[in-house]
Each structure stands twice: as structure tokens, then as C-alpha cells.
Symmetry: D2
Subunit: 340 residues, 4 copies
């Protein structure tokens, strides 16, 4: 008989969080727990057709609703929360993407302030075929359609920030948040340093897929039914979010300008190779230089996110982050055998 | 007999605010009130000699204590608070400056993450001669000393942020905050858009003087006895902090990278010339190009601050921000006659 | 009997070019020609052991020798040269990498000027096993070794610049040059807009492999025996270098800051989807957002290079750049059958 | 009887230089010579009315004509040329400014590539009153006019670049060039490190005045009659252009992003205080932090230029750059007494 602990949580209408920090926990979670949860899309579900313009149907700042926060029992400043994504599955057979006035990478914005008027505001409704695992794009002008592979992910996952701050769920930073990296797919473990007691973990912003950089600022946005397994690494800080898959260790940096986001992720990766795998710093710098993959995550949000991926096959012996990914994989297997 | 309303406020030890947003108001202030207040230095008064290293004596995140917040009666989202600086006077005959490990413009930092070890951590104690209005620099190596003119200012003034956020008092952004511009001296009026009811105005971070850009990250830091006069401009938003002196209108932008801070300030100035002074946008762009002064404020904080100054002498007829600066100057005059 | 035209060229010691523009052509090449050539490594062959520090053995500005320039017959301003990489094969069984003082992404540099002393200067000699297709890393501290897959590429390929300029071979810009993208491997076609009569194509800087971003500034550097097939697309400009493989169309941007390099590459890709494949601009923006891959190329050179890759499988019907890649593939096949 | 050497040079129509480097010298100049010269405006004199749009009347790349280059006798790599501006006087009673499509700080550009169409292209003709020393702005929409003070300067002054390069006269970089700083007015001395024998000094791009940052990309452009006095500092390099006035020493940095331009200028200033005035590096960092003025020069050109000004009144004893400014001031005095 198993002692597997499973929690199910679907937020009620008024129960979403719009910030990291500053929201009351919706539940307490013991390390080693599997959580089944629902996340609404980044539009709070209000963009449902090509006529639903964000500037008309959405109500600022009530964008990017987060499911949580979950109070992780025992989590203290200086620990790290490990979140393993067991399943990320679209909850609908459609998704929406849009342009948003003065938002995105190829337009004047509120921060890259120029004298241009905004680009056109448009909505695209994507059809999701969950059996075939495809997302169908349909051009707004002309009749071109194409099916892209479904690759579900969470754009946003994070904990309460440090320095007494409360941050909008639209922001990625050292606490995680709206990093918008396609690496955050089922099968990976995300590491987040704890800044406040209980960590206050939340997540949302499901994407049926997105390109690297999220160029126009909005991915293929949809609600998700997700399952996560949560662990706690005591006494080990994690300054910037890290991700581990079966094949790669992955550092992230979220800041502007983009070269500083790159520097954070690459420096963290060099230090990870030193810390967990014993390489001298300059040797790690050399090896990272020749083996790293550096896909961009987002170049549109309040902070830009750069990712640095290193193949495990080229690592010296050692265990990343105390072996948490392997433990959570096993917990996910147990969950699948008993529940999934 | 005057109806001048004067409020005096000196925070008790536990009464400082460490954030914009998220702190309870210390007092309610009616528009038209003059407030006499004390601000502690950015080190919370803990750096008192060359032996007091920030990394040893300060307790993160308890840096840059703010006096306030003041609840401005009647302030609603979409209004603008006008803060006129009547007096900014050093409260001590000394000030401190330091280098802080991995902070500053000419060093690797936590955000410009490089593989270098930190630069040396040093403290300089500056002597303030309030009669002669000078600040004396004394080199730590060798015996060079020099007197620089005292030019007291507040590095930090702001209101609660939008988007449900709470931000560290070390951050400058659209809500104001830690802009660190030497333009914030006695005689100017600062305009801050209101994001929450009551605005929640606070200020601190007195500098006996600083250079433009605050290169090493720390100015000539000291406690201040300051007097401000507060007004409210109903029904008029102010997206980024503006400043008005007797001779200039001044826009600011606070973001990274620095060119975006420049763009925000310059675009705001172009729009100010259009909005309050009736110039067509392209004409305003041309006139700003030839007449603007663009001193940097800080290139070291979480966001960088760029300033755009336009001489009033070259403006078309019109009143900036509904004439609030002139009204507050008169209020300041009344205060000086009756109290000062 | 074939009319295949094959040119062989190995530079003599004094025959390398150190700039794009400003060098006399070494040969004239008719479109449709296959060129067999040798390129020296970026150190001009002077770093041969762990004792050969760049700062001691190399002679500035004689770095990154280029083979060429080749005068492409008939090439005029407004045309585009298409260069297909038939083979890129290391000419030695070893390669060198180094750190260079004040150069690289995770250090102070001459342009990111800080007060830190330079990081340590070190050389790593990599063993190349051309049979097994591996590059062996050997740590300088400790005895860790690991084999990475060989993935040979040219870091530098370009034409003479516009605007009467002559640029160092260390610079990537609109004319191509030192882009340092691992996408420049055998099997792809590179498109370069012509700025001067004859285009003046040259290439060099062979890498047995490199990571994305070239973090420390230096890849696994080695001499190459390469074969290219050259074509000319008359009357069609190409503002920034493009690359085409059998599976992807790829735009590049090379500039600082990195977000502008990203914007150039992504905007060019959007315009490519509009121009050659008939998508309306906003539809192209949306589709690129969801399907693009955005690996970084270099974040260390004078300009940073960002890459935007779009899978051909998701394109509307159409031929990229007039079908040049397909024609050059066939020419390469002919070469292999007759010569290779 | 004086041995004052005076050279007069007015370029013929075909005699302008369009690059730094790559142009034959127009004259040889001995150190200690005074040169009277004429510079055409940045439009090569082609914008003469509101109907003369740059995109129609100018012929790329023939923009920003330079007078020179002058071969400075005895100048070798590792020396520094000192150029004192004795007079800079508008040669016409009008000047032109414009917007240029996809150029400027508050618009999408070829490098900040966005999906917006270009802003409107407009010309403003400014009236220059050389007696009253004013420049009259006349709005294109409405009838507003205003007189700004004349403050003549050269936007462009430089020498041939290092690294075998030839650069467009539109570019500012370590060799000087198109820095567009209002500090380059009569009375100052500009220091430029020598990269090739004879230095190959040229200048142009007269502005009757400009704001700091040259926001729209174009100043109040006019032809100039200027007088310079030239000296050579043997055996002393100057990595980035420096300027000295009677009251300030001034460092410059020209690169993107803007924070790196800031870092270069401020680091150079710290090193200047150490090198010529004996302050220890961290003491210089502290003193610069509190005393520096940091006006922007341009945020629109190929590289952005940031300026760091330090008041001589606060310097330790010492002579900047070997006292060249004082010597050239005296030479200028001699010229005025004998010729001017």
C-alpha cells in the first residue's frame, strides 16, 4: 500500500493570484506531494473569438491568473523548491493568440517608447487536436493553414520574491515567474530558491506551444490540466531558476538588457558545473563555451529570459541539485502507476 | 490669519518603510499641506566610520528606509500628486559613501553577472560644512582632500506602484522611487501619477551631493531634515515622474537598458510639449532635439534613470501640469514667511 | 561530359585577407563554380600548445585570416551571392581554444569597460578524431576529459561592406563576417547581399564545434579544408545574411545590443515569410512567434549575432531566395559524383 | 617676428572625405600649425529648403563630408593628436534639420528593426543670426517660433581607425568620428590616439547648436568656417577620445548599448584621474561618482556616445595630457593676435 499523497486543486472564480508574493496560500503542501491542478489562460479566459480584443475584453491588471500560491511545508529562506511537471495537458480544444497594442518584440512598447502609433490589434484562434497533438494556425488574411506540433508548457511558474516585494504575474525575475520558456514542459524539474517561509509556489500561463523568444509577446494560450510533484531541498539556495530534464541541466536569467540575461544564465551554468560537478571555474567556462545550447525564451516581457542548456552526457560524475530530479521522476512514476 | 496647514513627522525606529506599496500610511495629508520630515540615510544609519562595511553592518533587505507613506486625501487612480521640495537640509555634519560588492556601474554585478571577484569594499566618510555649503572628500590612499559644493537632494521619492505590486525602495520605475537624480533638489516640484487610493507617498535617500550617473552606486549619503509641500492634480495622469523647476520642465525614464530609459524620458518630453504647450508632435520632436539637456541620473540601480530637461524660456505659452509648480512655490513662500 | 567548373585555392603565407573590403581579389569566380579551399585558424596558426598565449604569440590586428576575397563575376550592387557549403573538414587532428584578456561574454572587456583586472589567460588544446567525429576536451585543472561531437563550421563568411567601409575580419555586420553561428555547417546555403562590384567573398575561422553564444569568445579553432559552391541571384538584394538548409530558413542579425540583433533577425524572418511565401505581415508575425527557433550565435564579438530559424515544413508554398539552395545542392551533388 | 605657421584649406567639390581611413591626405601639417578650414554640412549642402527631403536629394553613402584628412607630420601609432578649436563659425545665415526615415532615437530604425512604417519625413530650415548669436526655430505646423542660443560645434572629428579599418563618417568609435557632442565647441582641445602614420585627421558636421542626445538624429546643420590648432603628444596613447576645456576634463565612449558607452567614458575618467593626477583607482572611482557630469552626446548614430565631465577645480595637482591644452591655448592666442 502506497503513502502517495495527492492533492487536487481547481481555483474558484475569485481564487486566482495575480502576483508573486502578496497572496494568501490556497493550500499547504508537504514535500513529496503530487498536485493535480487547473490553470486558466493568460487572458483569464476572456479572449474566445477573433472579436475579443485584449484591449477591450481584459481588465488590467487582472492578466495572467496564477493557480496558487501553495505553501510548501518546511520551506525556509535558503532552501530550494523542486517542481516536477508530471503532466501538462490542454483543457480545451482551442487556444488564442493576439497582438496587444504597444507590447511585443517587434513594436514600440511602453518601455521602448517611440513616436509610432501601435501596430494592428488582432486575434488568432488556434484549433488544438489533442489526439493528433497538433495546433492549427489559420491566417487572418487569405486561407493558409498549417498544423504545428503541440508542445504544452507553462509560461509562468514561481515563488514569492525576496526583498519584501510583490511582483505582477507578468514579470519574470530571480523568483521565476513569467519566464515563458518552452523548456518548461512535462518531464522537467524546475528549481526555485525560497525567499519567504512556505515559498508560496504558483503557476499558470499554459501554452499549447510557443516559439523561442515569444516574438509578438503572446503564445498559443490555453487553459491546462497539469500535475506537478513537489519536493524541497533543504539548506541549498538557488539564486536563479534552474531546470533539469532527463538529458540536460538548464540555467535561466531574466533581466534587461538581453545580454545581461544571457550573462546570468551562462554564469550560473558555469557555477553549476563547478558546484555540483567539480570542474574548476575556467575549465567550466571553456566546456560551457563549446557545448552549451542558448535558445531564447522571451524577448517581450518586463524582463527578457535567456536559457543555457548543457547536455548531461558531457558532465563529469555528480548529481545536479542533490538528485532531486531523479527522486521526483520516481514519484511521478508512482503517481502514474497508482493514479494516472 | 493664515490657514496654512503644517505637519511634522519624524519616524520612530520601527516606523520606516522599506518598500513602495505594501506599507501602512503613517499619516493622512490634505492637498495644500506642508510637511516637515526627517529621513534617515540609505544605510539606515549603520555606516558611521571607515570600518563599517555595508556587507557587515547592514541587514538586507533593510536598506534605503523611506519616510512615509503619506496618504494623500482625495488621491485616486488617474490623478497626479505634486510634491514641492521647500527645504532639503543635511541633518548631520558628516555623510558616508561606500563601494558595495557586486554593485555599481564599473563592476560585475548580480545582473551583469561575470566571473570576476568583487572589487574592494571601502567606506569614505565625508565632512559636511553646512555653513560653507561644502562636502569634503578625503582620499583613503594618500592625503588628498577637496571640497565639493553641497547640493542636497533626495535620491528616492515615489508612490505605491500600479499592477498590485510592492517594490523595494532600491528600485526606480514608473512610480518614482530610487531615481537618484540630482535634479530632485530644493525648489523643484515632482509629479507622480497616482496608482492606488491615497497615492501613498514616501521619500528618503538624502544625498549631500552626487554626480550624474551615481557611478559607484552610492552618493554622499546622509540624513535630511526636509520640508515638502503637497498638492493633488485631479483627473490628470502622469505615466512617468516629471519634475518642474523655475527654469526647466524635466521628464524622467527608469528602466533597463539605458537607451530605453532615454527613449522614455525624451518621448515623454515630446508629448509634454504637445500636451501642455500645443506643439504638433513632429515639431516638438525637432525642438526637443535641439534644446534638450540629457544628464544621466543613475546607471547603477535595478533600473537606470535618464533625465530630459527643457528650458522654459523656449516653450510656447502654456502652463505645465496645470500650474501646480507656481501654486506650490507660493505655498512654500507662505510657509517660509510664517514658519521657516 | 560535364561542364562542372572547379577551382582550387590554398593561400600562400602572405595571401590572407584580414578585412572585409579593402583587399585585392585572389581569384575570379563565375557563378556556378565549385571552389576547394583551405582556411587557417583564427590565430593564424600561432597557438599550438598550452604555452602559446594569444597575448604573446599573436600580432594584432593579424587575427582571423580570411581566404579570399573571390571576385564573383557579374555581381553588382543589389544582387545576392549564394554560397553553398559542400564540405567543411578539419585539416588537423587538433584544435585550440583560449581565453583572451578582456574578451568574452563573462568578463569585463574593452567595450564593457569595468575596473576589474582581466580573468586568467589559458589555452586548451582539443584532440580531433576525424574518424570518430569527436573533439576531446581535456580540463587544465584535474584530469577530466570528455568527447563532444564534431560539428565543423565556418565562424566567418562575408562580402565587402557597403558605405565605402573596410571592416576587420573580427566583426560581424550586415555584410556577414564573423557571425560565429553553428548553423554555418556543410549542407547549408548562405545568402549575402552584394555591396560592391564582384561582391568580394571571403571566409575563414573554422570551428570543429562551438556552443551557442560562443561564451568565452573562442570556439574549438582549427584550419579547414572546405568546398563551397557559389551562385549569384541577380536583381535581388538581401539586407542581412540569410541561411537555408534542407529543413529551415534562417535569418540573422548582428549588432549590439543583443535585443536589437534579435529584432533584426526576427523582423527579417517575418519579411521573408511575406516576401517569398505570401503571408500578410501580421499573419507572418503570429506564425513566426509560435514556430521560430532562436538560438544565439555569438555574444562576445564586436557585434552580437542572433539567429531566427523557421522550419520549412510549416511554410506556405513558395521558394526561398529564388530556389538557389536547391540549385546549389544539385551542383554539390554533381561535384561529389565527379570529384569528391 | 613670429614663426606662427598657418594653413588655409577649403575643399574643392570632389575633395571631401566620406570615411575615416581610406582617403588620401589633402595636406601635410606640422605640429604647432594653425589650420583655417571650411566644412560643408552633413547633407553635402543638398538640403536647402523644406522641399529637399534627405531621401530624395541626398545620395547614399555620400553623407557627412569631412574636410581632410590632414597628415600630421611625425604622428605614429602610440602617439596622440591634440586638436584645439580656435574658432567654429557658421558660414551661412541658415541651417537645416530633418527627420530621416528609420533613423533617430524615437523611431524604429534599420538596427532597432520593428514592423512599424517610418515616421513622417520633414525639413526645418533654421535662421541663424550671427550677430545676435541665435538660431530661430519655426514650427512646420502652426506659427510658433523661438530663438535658441547659437552654440557652434563640430559633430565629427577623428583620425583613421585601427585594425586596418575604414569607417563611414557617420560612425563614432574609438577613433573619434561622428560623436555629436555639444562639448566640441570653440575653446576646447580634443585628444585622439594615433592608429596609423600621420594620424589622418579630418572633421566636419558643423552644428549651429544641438541638444544632448541629438534625439531625432539631426542637429541644426550648417557649413562652418573653423580654425584649429594642432599638436602632437609623442609616446602617449589615448584609447578613447578625450576633450579638455579651460574648466573640465572630459572623457567619451562611443558604442552600443548606451550603458557600455557610459562605462567606457566613466572608466576612462577614473583612469585619467589615476594616470595624470595620481589618485588611487578606488579613490578616483569615489570622487568621480560624486563630481562627474554625464550629459549624453548622441543616442541615434551607429554607436551611441556618452560623455563624462570632471571639473578641473576638484582635481589634485597635475597636468592633463602633458599640458597640451595650455600650449594650444597660447598658440590660439598668438594666432588671434597676429591673424584673427
Amino acid at each position: 500500500m502506497s503513502d502517495l499523497e495527492v492533492l487536487s486543486f481547481t481555483p474558484s472564480a475569485g481564487q486566482y493570484a495575480w502576483t508573486f508574493g502578496g497572496a494568501e496560500p490556497v493550500a499547504r503542501v508537504r514535500p513529496g506531494t503530487v498536485v493535480q491542478l487547473f490553470t486558466e489562460d493568460c487572458f483569464a479566459g476572456r479572449v474566445r473569438s477573433e472579436r475579443d480584443l485584449v484591449s477591450e475584453v481584459c481588465e488590467f491588471p487582472y492578466l495572467n491568473p496564477q493557480t496558487g500560491p501553495f505553501y510548501i511545508e518546511g520551506a525556509e529562506v535558503g532552501d530550494t523548491v523542486a517542481v516536477h511537471f508530471v503532466e501538462i495537458e490542454p483543457a480545451r480544444d482551442w487556444a488564442a493568440s493576439t497582438t496587444v497594442p504597444l507590447f511585443g518584440a517587434l513594436t514600440a512598447t511602453h518601455l521602448t517608447a517611440l513616436l509610432h502609433p501601435a501596430l494592428p490589434e488582432l486575434v488568432w484562434i488556434w484549433e488544438l487536436d489533442r489526439g493528433a497533438r497538433t495546433c492549427r494556425f489559420r491566417a487572418r488574411h487569405g486561407d493558409f493553414t498549417v498544423d504545428l506540433p503541440m508542445d504544452p508548457m507553462h509560461g509562468t511558474v514561481g515563488v514569492a520574491p525576496a526583498n519584501l516585494e510583490v511582483r505582477s504575474a507578468l514579470v519574470p525575475d530571480a523568483f521565476g515567474g513569467n519566464m515563458d520558456t518552452p523548456e518548461m514542459r512535462a518531464g522537467v524539474t524546475c528549481y526555485l530558491g525560497v525567499n519567504v517561509p512556505g515559498a508560496l509556489l504558483s503557476l499558470g500561463d499554459g501554452h499549447a506551444r510557443q516559439g523561442e523568444g515569444e516574438t509578438c509577446g503572446v503564445a498559443v494560450e490555453t487553459a491546462m490540466n497539469s500535475v506537478i510533484a513537489v519536493d524541497l531541498i533543504k539548506g541549498r539556495p538557488c539564486p536563479w531558476p534552474r531546470i533539469e530534464s532527463d538529458t540536460h541541466i538548464i540555467s535561466t536569467g531574466s533581466v534587461r538588457p538581453l545580454e545581461d540575461a544571457f550573462r546570468i544564465a551562462q554564469t550560473d551554468l558555469v557555477q553549476w558545473l563547478s558546484g555540483d560537478f567539480g570542474l574548476e571555474a575556467m575549465d567550466a567556462y571553456q566546456l560551457v563555451t563549446q557545448a552549451v545550447l542558448s535558445p531564447l525564451a522571451n524577448v517581450c516581457d518586463t524582463n527578457y529570459t535567456s536559457v543555457a542548456k548543457f547536455p548531461k552526457a558531457y558532465l563529469p560524475p555528480g548529481a545536479a541539485m542533490g538528485g532531486a530530479h531523479q527522486r521526483l521522476r520516481e514519484l511521478a512514476g508512482e503517481y502514474r502507476r497508482e493514479v494516472g
